[in-house]
Amino acid sequence: MHILMMWLLAPGHHHGAWSQIGLAISWLLVVLVIGFAVISVAGDKIEIVVNTIRDGVGKSIGSGLLGHLAILPGAVAVVVLLAVTLIGVLIIPLGLVAYILAVAGIAMFGFIAVALLTGAALTGGKSRDETPRGAMLRAFVTGTCAYLGLWIIAAAFAWMPLIGALLRSLAAGATFVAVTAGFGAVLRSYWRGDFSKRAATG
């Protein structure tokens, strides 16, 4: 999933430092808006994923890597399963779009959880918020700015050939781990049944 996420987050093949900076800031705003919405609607589920990451960072990254490897076979499986039903041949494009959206959604969900955990660590647990949800939002903003700030810095130095490439590579490496850990944590939470347990206990 890092492929899709980083392709989305990366400023792309746009030339010119200003356009790359603008694109990175735009993605920062997009991620913030999506994150606010997700935390407001499904904050308890984000907490589950955060706890799964705390349970084992290495396990989450490993699960995320396995999940990345399973993305393409999963898409093939969707096509094959729809094809063998004969009726489903007609909806193969829709099935693929739904599959891609689902994978992207899982990745974004996981990245929000990782950003929240990172932001909580960076802010050092300062109790300046009156509500837990406010603390979550503050931590999320801090973590998202930390990760996407790397892309903005890399875009600012894009006019320097070697330095710009190295900074961009550094940002890509950090984002890769963040997205992979989040993706794996969501998969692990689902696999362990944490979401359904929380739904049953209320």
Binding site: I3, M6, R54, A121, R168, S169, A172, G173, V177
Partner: protein, 177 residues
């Protein structure tokens, strides 16, 4: 109704109670009494307590894994499900029969689509690497130069730094905080 007794009357009652002799039930008195009582449940005795068998409530009982659950669906849903499962089963059976009779056909198909699949994966990897590392970074890596090694090194450095940051954030001390 008004109680007409005076405090002196209670003193007399108290003295009468004090004159009564002390007595206690004979051994086994409680057992003899309980032997005449109809018991609907066995009495729990030490060493013979059995846990209450927990029966899942109907609304909590798993139903999705049960085939009966699907048999209870409305008729159109059952027809659609049977059509999907049946067509998939027929198609898979036909494919298996063809594979058993014409293995050369499968080798031919695998050769055609295998090459295309590898080409697609290579193009996809190249595109992703270009988007992530940028044109300059990708050219450094493809040139296998010192700059390419530095680009890969900074990628690993960023990944290691993010991993260390996540580990620190997830450490028990912070969790406790």
């Amino acid at each position: 109704m008004r109680d007409e007794r005076t405090p002196d009357d209670f003193v007399k009652i108290e003295q009468a109670l004090k004159r009564l002799p002390y007595f206690d039930p004979s051994p086994g008195f409680a057992d003899r009494v309980m032997a005449r009582v109809t018991r609907f449940q066995p009495l729990a005795a030490p060493g013979s307590i059995e846990p209450v068998r927990r029966v899942p409530m109907p609304e909590l009982a798993p139903q999705r894994d049960d085939v009966v659950h699907y048999l209870r669906r409305p008729l159109p849903v059952r027809i659609a499900a049977m059509a999907l499962v049946g067509s998939a089963a027929v198609t898979m059976s036909v494919i298996i029969l063809i594979a058993a009779m014409r293995p050369d056909l499968f080798v031919f198909v695998a050769q055609i689509f295998g090459g295309q699949a590898f080409g697609f994966l290579a193009a996809l990897g190249n595109e992703v690497a270009g988007s992530v590392l940028g044109d300059a970074g990708l050219s450094y890596v493809q040139a296998a130069s010192v700059a390419g090694a530095a680009t890969i090194g900074t990628f690993v450095l960023g990944a290691a730094g993010a991993t260390a940051l996540l580990r620190a954030a997830a450490s028990p001390t912070r969790k406790a905080a």
